[in-house]
């Protein structure tokens, strides 16, 4: 598909149809992404204020055969928000569409425009005594439209699901420039194909989400947090089963951490208070949110006692206050920052079926050892089978000494994940970084169905060209 550049002539076409303030100079932040892997081209930047303005932008782009790159909070980690090559695109940032259009506490529904920052959605829900469960490190700058377009995950997926599971309806502009009004608040609606879930996770390649009806949850009557030392990943998995058998869906987070992560914290963030005098080989952070009438601390204490009797736990801390809870979570939440300071040779956002997770950890460690001497920080959302499996230089060395190993490590990890029925991208998506991985590891029948759907809905290939599928 040959596209044209978003040049001055194209900008003039847009100016003729839209208010002056919609087009803006392209500031550098629209051309960067967090890991610095890509550098975008300038093109034309538009900041629409309504779905109607988005529709005019898309209709004009499709008529002119100009590529469109949607821009949310810019926090994606796979380059979905950046067009580094090809003709210069029209960048559409949703940052002026930040209205929470309505809140329906009785229905547990909130309708927000796509540019609303995730933390603002959470705050709007709290403001009416409700809870919006999507929670992730970048929630202070990520925007809900981007969260949905990438089907974001985070720490509450075990209980509440990912972004897909938290959305009831969408308003979106399709590649022909028409507005789909699918902003339903219905819990049940079996009237035709699931266009909502097709757009969610499509990373802007099938249209632009302009607003969403989001599911809220009741705020749990009581919450509890514990950090429990486990002898092995197998034991962690058994502890998860025990916890869910006793406490059901009230288990809202179950995060695995390895000694290496705690040691990185001690090295890089020495002011952070460590929960144990000497870092255990493995520990899990458990959070529960329970119904009225159940004491969460007592429930966690009962779980810990049972786990001890079964040799699934040797030590542990149960938070007795909000401050203690925050301190336990800080350990988990600061690990990515410590990782960043150490500097990884290769990072992996993988998932495997829960039952083979211990096997993955054992075999991956052996395979990496076969390549060379590294430090491995394996941590993440055990309850979802989703690990952030990151490989680092030995102490005293720099990642620059290891550049020759990155591709080899990535291939070994991704091959192992594939052989275990896992995914090379559990929650970050494909973007531009993993297009070749998708072609290599993806099911060929699914890939050809995806290409047919893309060609049917976006025949000129204008939407986020080069992301997910090669143009």
């Amino acid at each position: 598909m040959t596209l044209n550049s978003a040049d001055e002539g194209f900008a003039a076409q847009l100016r003729a149809k839209l208010p002056e303030a919609v087009l803006r100079p392209v500031a550098p932040r629209y051309l960067q992404e967090p890991r610095g892997l890509y550098r975008g081209q300038a093109g034309v930047l538009a900041l629409p204020r309504s779905a109607q303005e988005v529709a005019i932008l898309i209709a004009t782009a499709t008529a002119a055969r100009v590529g469109v790159v949607p821009f949310g909070g810019g926090t994606g980690l796979v380059g979905g928000q950046i067009a580094p090559d090809g003709p210069a695109p029209l960048l559409i940032s949703l940052e002026r569409m930040t209205a929470v259009r309505s809140v329906h506490p009785q229905e547990n529904v909130l309708i927000a425009e796509a540019g609303t920052i995730l933390a603002d959605v959470q705050a709007a829900a709290r403001g009416v005594g409700r809870f919006f469960p999507l929670s992730l490190a970048s929630e202070g700058s990520a925007r809900i439209g981007g969260n949905l377009s990438t089907n974001a995950g985070g720490v509450n997926v075990l209980r509440y699901g990912n972004a897909r599971d938290l959305c009831l309806g969408l308003e979106a502009v399709l590649p022909d420039g028409r507005i789909w009004n699918g902003l339903t608040r219905l819990r049940k609606d079996n009237t035709g194909y699931d266009l909502r879930n097709l757009l969610i996770g499509a990373e802007g390649t099938l249209g632009i989400i302009t607003a969403a009806a989001l599911k809220l949850a009741p705020i749990p009557a009581g919450e509890g947090t514990a950090l429990i030392v486990v002898p092995s990943p197998e034991a962690a998995l058994k502890l998860l089963t025990l916890a869910r058998d006793r406490l059901g869906e009230t288990v809202s987070a179950f995060e695995l951490m390895h000694r290496q992560g705690l040691e990185f914290l001690a090295e890089e963030l020495p002011d952070l208070r460590q929960p144990f005098a000497s870092p255990p080989e493995w520990c899990v952070l458990i959070e529960i949110g329970v119904a009225a009438g159940l004491d969460p601390q007592a429930a966690l204490a009962g779980l810990f006692e049972s786990a001890q009797q079964l040799d699934l736990a040797s030590d542990g801390v149960i938070a007795q206050s909000a401050a203690q809870r925050d301190a336990l979570w800080a350990v988990r939440e600061q690990i990515p920052e410590a990782n960043r300071r150490v500097g990884s040779v290769s990072s992996h956002d993988i998932s495997v079926p829960l039952g083979v997770l211990p096997e993955f950890i054992a075999r991956a460690g052996a395979a990496i050892a076969g390549i060379g001497a590294f430090r491995i920080n394996c941590f993440g959302h055990l309850g979802d089978g989703n690990l952030h499996y990151n490989v680092f230089p030995l102490r005293g060395h720099d990642r620059a000494d290891y550049t020759q190993y990155g591709a080899r490590i990535r291939q070994v990890i991704h091959d192992l994940v594939a052989s275990l029925g896992g995914s090379f991208s559990a929650e970050h998506g494909i973007g531009r970084l993993k297009v070749a991985d998708l072609e290599h590891y993806g099911d060929p029948v699914k890939l050809s169905a995806m290409r047919a759907i893309k060609a049917a809905l976006d025949p000129h290939g204008i939407m986020n060209p080069g992301a997910v599928l090669r143009g």
Copy 2:
């Protein structure tokens, strides 16, 4: 799209490629549906035993331009399983593909072939100490492939979601005869478009589901059931909010019943024990499943006391035994049978946003009264905003006296539902019965996207022709 008939020549093509036993004479049950609205044409019947055999059938049909009608348990209520006109189709029944391929209790996953009867899936889960939440009246004969193809609902949607929410992965044969192997057990996998949810709810028009990876849940540590008399639908809605604020997602069912339903039961099923001496105007059946450490009867008693103080409840029964629980559920579950015996003038499977549900009930009653004198039995899944709103003759009259009213009533109800942002098909789907409704009430942009997707994946229009979209 012109299709050819599945005639003797086509059958001979299939016989050349498949074992003898795959083709069978067309028994009458494949040409009937529960309400007798359609009568199918015979064509050719195939009973494949594997996805590979399904693939051969579909590839042969697509090459010969013969329509294919997938047949699950035959329990659908909108004619999706019956081709009453057009060229005679190839009927593919999945009834020989009933293997539970694997069960993974630690992962809360079960993999079943599409022909497995829903009750057998539930039993397989129970057999490993787990719970498969999909539950509906026809579970003894409905098959899981059909449940997924129609995105079935039922009584546990409030807590566990509909069929879509209970599926992790699919194996399916696409209209080109290729097998998509998407049978993942992963909780997180952001690698490309959501083909799974596109096939779920497509009612066999985009391919045939041959197997599914299903989500299981822990069996709740304790369960409780109550039937509570409420003064109005508004009060029922407030009681739902109160229940969820206190008990969160442990509320697994919240069913509304009107006096008319209890009176129908007394008329038609007099042996059924009624819970109240005189039937209340409105009551709700509440079920909770709670974590270890919480007494479910005490939790329901606490809820009832709070509700009484807020004038949301005037009377109630809390089941003290499994037998009492079954007796309360029997009241709810026998209402459809009583309805069937009375014989409705018009039945409606509608949903509206929860907050406008009382307004819907009031306005629908007034609108029906403007048409004539009827008895209205309004009941259903209040927690999901999903009502079965059924209109019946006055006592002593027969539905045959009212045939002139059916279309008028349907239009009035569906217009009202549409004006309130609701759905004319909450859980039953489109099939062949509601194709015109979809064209009339559906969003035109969504409809054209659906047609584009259908044409892209099934260019010859062989899959379930005439269902969902007009051929």
